[in-house]
């Protein structure tokens, strides 16, 4: 359910709003009445992609369901920076779960709403650690039972809240606290990790999508579509972390954009086992452009030995491009 671009205005549909666009062609985020589900005063780092992605996603879900929404939230930065007792940044009913059981809590919430005869919709959210590692069993169960929950994973590619440890979503070669840039093969190893969006798809649930903070319209369209469906749904959002990735706080969106434009992070959607649509690359970039501004990949650029590793990462990007058909020369994007 991608969005239909309006190719007319000075900025087409890539900007968040634009005074020249009719109100219905603007994003939820452009609205001064947006829910601001994640309000200000939260303690996320400067330029945190997760804080941004969470507001983008939850505001869109709020709009889609007319504000009748409850969220379960796994432990992780998103929970810790938003709710130091007795304050909360959440302007929706929000329940903190354990690190590993947010999907199960959400399943229970959905069951409770049903039992009470309420139409309140349920989302669950967590980081990549909480989702792809410790919460994975609960998540798979939620999928398998097709519970009426939209699960949103905010993927910043490591356990950020506890000091940047590797997760099964950490990319190869990335330096983390547990995969130091030392030895013959510095950084995270190649050939490990999980591709949870594809695993979710394999559960044959009604809707699976990936998105990033770099393309808000795509993200909002996906959340909106997900909320129009029932059953288990999964959206995996790439949210760069300035602290863990070693990037400038103002580069968060640029880095996410480069992840897409290099092909390293394929943006697609699907359901019932199949990929049904992809976000095309507008201008393909070499992986170096994505890697270089990130300190977690700095060791690849120290000397000539990094070149082979960069080539392996480029091969991963190229494989994604081929697998999902991310480049369409005929498409005007």
């Amino acid at each position: 359910m991608g969005y239909t671009p309006v190719k007319f205005y000075q900025t087409g549909t890539h900007t968040i709003g634009n005074r020249l666009l009719p109100a219905d062609a603007r994003t939820v985020q452009s609205d001064d009445d947006r829910a601001n589900a994640l309000s200000c005063g939260h303690r996320a780092c400067q330029g945190c992609g997760e804080a941004l992605g969470a507001r983008y996603a939850v505001d869109a879900a709020m709009r889609a369901v007319g504000g009748d929404l409850v969220a379960a939230n796994a432990t992780g930065c998103l929970e810790v920076f938003s709710t130091p007792y007795p304050e909360t940044s959440w302007q929706i009913p929000w329940i903190h779960s354990l690190f590993g059981n947010a999907p199960a809590i959400a399943t229970g919430l959905a069951a409770a709403m049903k039992a009470k005869g309420k139409a309140t919709r349920v989302i669950a959210q967590g980081g990549d650690g909480g989702t792809t590692d410790i919460g994975f069993g609960c998540l798979s169960g939620m999928f398998e039972r097709n519970d009426d929950v939209l699960y949103i994973c905010y993927d910043n590619e490591a356990y950020m809240n506890t000091g940047v440890q590797r997760s099964s979503a950490t990319p190869p070669a990335a330096r983390t606290a547990t995969t130091p840039a030392l030895g013959a093969a510095p950084g995270n190893v190649f050939g490990q990790g999980k591709d949870v969006p594809r695993i979710a798809l394999a559960h044959e649930i009604p809707y699976v999508a990936t998105a990033t903070v770099a393309n808000l319209r795509d993200l909002e369209a996906k959340v909106t579509h997900a909320m129009s469906l029932h059953g288990a749904r999964y959206i995996h959002v790439l949210v760069p972390c300035p602290l863990g990735w070693g990037t400038a706080s103002h580069d968060t969106i640029k880095i996410a954009r480069l992840a897409v434009e290099t092909g390293l992070f394929p943006v697609f959607e699907g359901g019932n086992g199949d990929v049904t649509g992809v976000l095309k690359i507008r201008a393909k970039r070499p992986v170096e452009e994505y890697l270089k501004p990130q300190k977690r990949f700095a060791h690849l650029f120290k000397d000539a030995t990094g070149a082979a590793t960069i080539a392996r990462l480029q091969a991963i990007a190229d494989r994604n491009i081929a697998r999902y058909g991310l480049i369409d020369p005929a498409a005007e994007v």
């Binding site: 000075q10 709003g17 994003t27 200000c40 330029g47 507001r55």
Partner: protein
């Protein structure tokens, strides 16, 4: 007091109590940077500013905004060489915004709807004399009249407009357009005295508090061409001027034009329209060194005008011209080769430029510039207090647009001088360079081209060659503007702030930073498409 169990003794508080703005070391500031188009406009137009209104179809406001600086958009939209488009940042993306075409659309719309200028609410009682009713004189008159001064223009010619009427041919500038825009200026209460040549500026200034010399450059430069029996040698300015008279000049079947500037092109194209079967331009150097603009050369070639490079004219006699081939030396100067050639020609028209007729200031010492023309200071004033000058009469680039800009600048300085002050040019904003833009957000939008009359139909008469945009294409073209350096309310900053620290002030009012919560991450500045946000260090 109500008793609550431990851990819920506190009410749920909002994190808004936590002012994360204290983390900030830099703050975002909305700036209005100078767009390159504005910086390049010799008339000082705020192009981005009027395009902003045009983008919304608010044409009247666009016209009002444009005419703050330039009173003749329909003329400018036809004859300006648009250095703004050369500078336009969009040129680095796909192709420059068709600023000139939109300007013409606005000018034509204003004529169609009979939009007038607001008259000044009060009169100053000061009287200013303007000598010359060309673009610089008319522009100065407009800006002075709007400031409430009483303006009298004297012109030697029978009609106002200067070279806009007696130089630029009708097929580029229809006279009804010129007349309408001049009438709108005179409508402000400007007195026009035609057929009144000023011979002595000091005498003429009697009864005036200040004067502006806008006399242009009327004297055709002559090159010595040895001529024998039956040689018909004319100068381009006279030929073009006589086009405004009752009888068209007789040029013959084969016309040779000598020169490489825009005037040479115009006179050759005019000759074609008067029935010359051959119109040949002879120029000393090569095409790339020709001062004429490429688009004009192309239009001329389309109309059958021929060009001969690297040639000088040696002699004319009995319908024959002798030319000598030239060769460029290593410094790029043409040098004679001794090879001669003969061309058939009924007339030879010299288009070698013009000089300023300084007769009216000959009795005032120290007014003439070493660079030719009248010497002025940065405030456009001559050595004679209260006497200002501009346009072609002072050493500068000679275009209608520069003349318009001089008129405006002179008016600002005359106004200050009349009040016993010195005009201070407001400080220029820093330029909105292409590197400041985040072009990711702009989609491709092809430039809308102005239709042209078929070349075959052009030479039949003096109908306007270049057609205007219609309402749809003009709106589209206006919307191609990237709004370099100036917020156009795309909501990006409002959207991308992870801390909801940007407050939307409503349509037309832009945004405000909530410094209680802005952590200074800089995402708004990085993701602003048009580079309108600066990050500035906090004073600690």
């Amino acid at each position: 007091m109500e008793h609550k169990p431990f851990a819920i003794t506190l009410d749920v508080g909002s994190s808004r109590a936590n002012h994360t703005g204290s983390w900030r070391s830099e703050r975002p500031v909305y700036a209005d940077h100078l767009p390159p188009c504005n910086a390049a406009c010799p008339a000082g137009e705020d192009i981005q500013g009027w395009l902003y209104f045009a983008e919304e179809g608010r044409y009247r406001e666009a016209f009002d905004s444009l005419t703050v600086n330039n009173p003749m958009p329909a003329v400018m939209g036809r004859v300006c060489y648009h250095p703004c488009e050369t500078a336009c940042n969009r040129g680095k993306l796909d192709s420059a915004v068709g600023i000139n075409a939109v300007e013409r659309f606005l000018g034509d719309e204003a004529i169609r709807q009979n939009w007038r200028f607001a008259k000044p609410s009060t009169q100053t009682g000061k009287r200013v004399l303007i000598v010359g009713a060309g673009p610089s004189g008319l522009s100065a008159a407009y800006h002075l009249a709007r400031r409430g001064h009483a303006v009298t223009i004297r012109d030697a010619g029978p009609m106002p407009g200067g070279m806009m009427r007696f130089g630029i041919p009708k097929y580029r500038l229809p006279r009804d357009v010129l007349d309408a825009e001049i009438a709108r200026i005179l409508d402000l209460g400007v007195t026009m005295e035609l057929n009144t040549k000023v011979d002595d500026i000091k005498a003429a200034m009697q009864g005036f508090d200040a004067a502006f010399l806008a006399i242009g450059a009327q004297l055709a430069k002559r090159a010595y061409v040895p001529a024998g029996e039956g040689a018909r040698i004319l100068d381009a300015v006279s030929v073009l001027r006589s086009m405004e008279g009752a009888e068209a000049p007789k040029l013959g079947r084969r016309v040779v034009v000598y020169g490489g500037g825009n005037t040479a092109i115009d006179v050759a194209r005019t000759a074609r329209r008067l029935g010359a079967e051959e119109a040949l331009i002879v120029y000393r150097r090569t095409r790339d060194r020709m001062p004429a603009h490429d688009f004009e050369v192309e239009e001329a070639v389309d109309e059958g005008v021929m060009l001969k490079w690297l040639s000088t004219i040696k002699h004319m006699e009995d319908g024959k011209i002798t030319v000598e081939r030239m060769q460029l030396d290593d410094k790029g100067f043409p040098q004679p080769t001794g090879t001669l050639e003969t061309l058939e020609a009924d007339s030879l028209i010299l288009a070698l430029g013009q000089d300023v007729d300084l007769g009216l200031i000959k009795d005032v010492p120290g007014l003439v510039s070493e660079r030719g023309g009248i010497d002025v200071d940065p405030g456009m004033m001559t050595k004679l207090p209260g006497l200002f000058a501009g346009g072609d009469a002072v050493p500068a680039e000679r275009t209608v647009t520069v003349a318009m800009g001089h008129g405006k600048k002179a008016a600002a300085n005359i106004d200050a001088w009349l009040r016993g002050q010195i005009f201070e040019q407001p400080a220029k904003h820093t330029e909105a360079a292409f590197e400041k833009l985040n072009t990711w957000y702009y989609t491709d939008a092809p430039h809308q081209v102005r239709a042209k009359l078929d070349a075959a139909r052009r030479v039949d008469g003096f109908a306007e060659v270049v057609q205007g945009l219609d309402a749809d294409t003009a709106l589209f073209e206006a919307r191609r503007c990237l709004s370099c350096g100036n917020c156009f309310e795309c909501d990006n900053c409002y959207g991308v702030c992870p801390d909801n620290a940007i407050i939307k002030l409503g349509a037309g009012n832009r945004y405000r930073i909530d410094t209680d919560f802005c952590k200074g991450c800089g995402l708004c500045a990085a993701e602003c498409p048009c580079g309108a946000i600066d990050m500035v260090p906090e004073q600690i």
